[in-house]
Each structure stands twice: as C-alpha cells, then as structure tokens.
C-alpha cells in the first residue's frame, strides 16, 4: 500500500513540466507530467516523484493531519 503525500507547490518549471513542492521544511522536485492546471500554492498528492492529483487546501490539511497522527503513533516499522 503506497501512501500519497499532499505537498504545496512552491515553484514551477514550465519548460520541463517540473515543480518544487514543500512539506513542512522539506523541499523536493517532482514531475507535473500527470496533472494539468497547477499553480503556485496548490496542493498536489505526491507519489514516487510525480504529482498525481490536485486537491483542495481543506482536503490536504485533513490528510496531513492524519499523517501527523500516524507519525505521532510511531507507525513506521
């Protein structure tokens, strides 16, 4: 089961269809090949280097809260 993490878009490289996204203090390069109409400050679900979907800020915050809860439970094996 593969988790998909919501991340906020902080910059976009339109030429290469790439973006820099942030999750907390971590920043990472991802591909936008699978999604359309992405703007700075949008939230996208990220998996293995690709943005899978754009999601609303509200949805993203809910999902991030669940990941935070999971992290607090120490779920990583």
């Amino acid at each position: 089961m593969c988790l998909a993490i919501p991340a906020r878009v902080v910059s976009i490289d339109h030429m290469n269809d790439m973006a820099t996204v942030s999750l907390g203090e971590i920043e990472k390069q991802i591909s936008l090949a699978l999604v359309s109409d992405i703007n700075i400050d949008d939230y996208v679900l990220v998996h293995v280097g690709y943005a899978l979907n754009k999601i609303s800020t509200e949805e993203a915050e809910k999902t991030l809260a669940m990941f935070a809860e999971a992290a607090m439970l120490g779920v990583q094996s």
Partner: protein, 392 residues
C-alpha cells in the same frame, strides 16, 4: 516525507554475479492504526485519500470488508460497477508505467497529452456508473449511463491502440494467439515492443524460473493469521503454509495461452511479465464491455447477501493492479476497533519472495549495468514501489 517509507534492497555480488539479496522495509504498514476509534463511514472516505495510488482497489477492499462486517447486502449491479472501476484503475496504473517509466528508461519523450487524457477516464467512469459518482460508500446506488460508459471504453480502446499496440487491442490479442510475440516484435516499434526487446537482450539465459502464485486464500485461514499474536509479522513478511508466494499481473494472466507459453519456454522472467501486463491491458476493454452488459442485464434491486458469518468482522480481497490486496476490520457500534491491510508488495518483496529470487539471477561486472537491470526487474514486478538499492 519519510512517512512514505521504502524498501531497502541490498545486492551482494561475487565475481559479478548476485549471490545474495537482502530486502528490508520501512514501509508504514501500521499507518492503519489511525483508523482505530473512528467511525467506519469516515474511514471509508479517508482510505482512498491516504492510499491514493491504488485508491479504487483500496476503497473496494474496504467496502467489501465493511459491508461484510455490517451484514449489508450488495446487489450484483453494484458489484459489477465497482469491478469496472477497479479495472479502469488497473488500466491507468499499467499505462502510466508504460508511458512514463518505460519512456524514461528507453529515453523516449513522454506523451503528456495521452497521460493527462488517461487521468480523466476513471472519474468519468465513476460519474457514468454511480449516483453522484460515489461507488464506495454504504448505500451507493448504481445509475448507469450506457452511452457514456461505452464512449469511455471506446476512447480507451483507441488510446491503447495509439500508445501501445498499433492495432486494436482485441486484434493484437488475436494476432498474439495465432503467431506469438515474434511477428509483433518484428513489425512494431512501440514503447512496449522496445521494452520487450531490451529485456530479452539483458535477461540472463539461465534465469529460468517457475512462478509460485498465491493461491485462493480462504477467509477462515486469513482471519486466523490476522488475529494471531504474530499478525503484524504476517503483514510485514507474509507466507502461506510456510511458503513465499507472488501475487502479480503475471499470476493473474497465467491462464492465458500466450503468457503460459512464454513462461513454459522462457521462464517467469522479465519478458513473461511484460507480456502478461500487455495481455491484461489488451483484455480490459473487453472485460469492461462484458461487465457493462452484465450490469445492464441485472436489476439493481436484485440483492444478494454477502458471505460474512460474524457480524462486526469483515474481510475484503481485491485484485489491484499490482496484486492481491486484503483488508480486514473489526467494528463495534459502527467504530473501528482494529483495521489491517495486507498489501501485495509484502508478498512480492518478501526476503524469500519473487523479487529476491529474480534479483539473484542477475550478473554483470559493471555496477551501473547491474543496477539498471535490477531497476527494470523491479519495475516489471511492482512499478510503483519506492525503494533504494545498494550493490556490494
């Protein structure tokens, strides 16, 4: 982003040949603990958001477990419509991997237009099958729009022809049955045929392996494994009756004469796995049309009881794109007491599983070449697993 977790794969070489493979996992298998105490309706909503990659298969397994636990009857029309969504997700997963991963590996430009068009089919199919597009909630109601469904299937057929097969998928299947893959490989220069040619070139000649496919798992046996004191160990490193098994697209397609013949002659290596994925892809439009006919022939009110024996406990098994996905839950007054997910990755990347076995067949004196071969191999077993690999 470490919450995603990953596999840590270590290849040990002697004289250029891989002699041992060590696979450790930091995948967050216990993330489901956050469901404890939550209302089942909320959990059903959360699951496809958390596990977005195979979100439909996850939602389907969750719904089956939920409906079983709550002894909610599900009619055949709903089951058929849900199955159609799972197959459409499987198409999307297979095609993503071909159009993105294979294009990348073969240094070919990605077809961004087709990739984005493909993204639309699943939400369109949801809307064409269910009231408000909601197929995975208690009381989901089928409201099929046959014209819209057939239009989506026809567009999918065209996309498969354009991006993978060069002919209609059904025609490709027929040609494969009549002539085998040789003629297609001769005539075609698509990503799929190029990937196949690459793999046949790098595959070790002495890599003949027979697949050990996960058998049907009976509910009673699964309940027993998942309630034992070592249930977490079973979820992390599953074996059945003391044996490691694989659950992959190859296993799903082993009944097909083209796939079976390739396994018999070439073994269950990269080539057979690529052909299995292509055969599955080519078959899906036909499957969707059959399910559509079945759906239209069955009255939506024709309810059937699900097979759950004990109220409050449910089990759902679904064939996701990457293999069999199992959800088990325990409910008390509508709230989750325990939730477990057994994912295909844990079978396939078991330390003695299919990935470890096939990686042991690799050999190259050049570390970069060896890593490239290993990447290809992992991609054909499970294209979306996150991993890091080291060679020693």
């Amino acid at each position: 982003m470490e919450i995603e977790g990953k596999l840590h794969i270590r290849l040990l070489r002697e004289h250029g040949r891989v002699v041992d493979v060590d696979i450790q996992s930091s995948r967050p298998l216990q993330a489901v603990k956050i469901f404890q105490g939550k209302h089942i309706a909320d959990v059903i909503k959360i699951i496809p958001q958390l596990y977005h990659v195979c979100g439909v298969a996850q939602a389907s397994a969750a719904m089956t477990a939920c409906e079983q636990a709550m002894l909610i009857p599900v009619n055949e029309a709903t089951q058929s419509a849900r199955e159609m969504l799972v197959w459409m997700e499987t198409v999307r997963e297979h095609l993503w991997r071909i159009m993105i991963d294979w294009a990348h590996k073969l240094d070919v430009d990605k077809d961004a237009t087709s990739i984005k068009t493909l993204q639309q089919y699943l939400p369109q199919l949801r809307q064409a099958l269910f009231v408000e597009g909601e197929g995975f909630r208690v009381g989901a109601r089928v409201n099929v729009n046959p014209e819209a469904v057939l239009s989506i299937i026809n567009r999918l057929d065209s996309m498969l022809e354009d991006t993978v097969f060069t002919v209609a998928p059904a025609q490709w299947l027929l040609a494969m049955c009549e002539h085998g893959p040789e003629k297609w490989l001769q005539d075609s220069n698509t990503l799929a045929s190029r990937m196949f040619r690459y793999c046949s070139a790098v595959e070790a000649e002495d890599a003949f392996t027979i697949p050990s496919c996960l058998p049907v798992l009976d509910d009673a046996g699964l309940h027993q494994h998942l309630t034992n004191v070592d249930a977490d160990e079973f979820i992390a490193r599953p074996q059945w009756q003391g044996k490691s098994y694989e659950t992959t697209v190859l296993c799903r397609q082993l009944h097909h004469p083209v796939v079976r013949s390739m396994v018999q002659t070439q073994g269950a290596g990269m080539q057979a796995r690529i052909i299995a994925r292509l055969v599955e892809l080519a078959e899906i439009p036909g499957r969707l049309r059959d399910l559509m006919q079945h759906l239209c022939a069955n009255d939506a009110d024709d309810s059937v009881a699900v097979t759950g024996q004990v109220s409050g406990i449910g089990l759902g098994q679904v064939e996701a794109a990457r293999g069999r996905l199992i959800h088990r839950l325990e409910l008390t007054e509508g709230r989750v007491g325990n939730y477990q997910i057994l994912a295909p990755t844990e079978w396939n990347f078991h330390p003695q599983g299919v990935a470890a076995q096939l990686l042991k067949n690799l050999s190259s004196t050049d570390v970069t070449t060896l890593k490239t071969q290993a990447d290809f191999l992992i991609n054909v077993i499970d294209p979306c697993v996150r991993y890091e690999m080291t060679v020693h």
